[in-house]
Symmetry: C2
Subunit: 142 residues, 2 copies
């Protein structure tokens, strides 16, 4: 609900080396007020609440920029759409195939043992773990 103050958002962008604009500010305030899993379209909708003139293309541009600057992580979890995660600390995910719900699994809780040594010249970008579950007994008789 309560978003980042404009000042905090400006500071955050500057620190990351992202030139500040009105739209980027609003998108940052949407994303970084709390850890969030959102699609580009959801970001657009949320940004437009406060900055109605924001365009879809700008959201895509901004999300790409934020990813380059390591402000968000892209989650490739659903073939339909990319999900952006504003939590960039190492952690993993639990994904409900039926509902599309995405839940964090902390890196303390879950460990990946035995990541193979990489050939020289190849560097690790990130390790994704997605625990796919189906269930939540898609309410039949409600």
């Amino acid at each position: 609900m309560d978003k980042l103050t404009t000042n905090d958002a400006v500071a955050l962008l500057r620190r990351a080396g992202v030139p500040v604009t009105v739209q980027r500010l609003e998108i940052a305030r949407v994303l970084f007020s709390r850890p969030l899993h959102v699609s580009a379209d959801q970001v657009l909708a949320m940004a437009r609440e406060n900055a109605p003139e924001t365009s879809r293309a700008t959201v895509y541009n901004t999300l790409k920029l934020f990813r380059e600057k390591k402000l968000v992580k892209e989650l490739i979890v659903d073939p339909e759409r990319v999900v952006y995660d504003s939590n960039t600390h190492p952690h993993y995910h639990l994904y409900d195939i039926n509902t599309g719900e995405l839940t964090d699994v902390s890196a303390e809780e879950l460990r990946v043992v035995g990541v193979p040594r990489l050939p020289e010249g190849v560097e690790l970008e990130q390790v994704d773990v997605i625990i796919r579950v189906r269930g939540k007994a898609v309410s039949e008789a409600a």
Copy 2:
């Protein structure tokens, strides 16, 4: 190169409870002659080598059917396209962001420790681990 015999492919489909048709046979022969990572379009191209009248829609239908029957696994690794894996044994993947190359990591090599207990009604579908790397020093001076 050498594909499954028609008899073997028929047996394989029957065992999985998939009604046999010419197209499904050819797609099965393409997929199950060896462990493979392929996109729908690649399957189409490979199937058309022997069965040129195969349509794109049929390939999508068949891949979806094969997935339901657990004959292939869907890998959500690249936002652009779904990759089908004809190796359904538990294993994980290493993905080169630059080249798109996808490599298996065996379940002996890599272990996921601490998968959280699931609420009742929720059942585990599969655990995906994708080690994303960038590198292979995209040949500059070749």
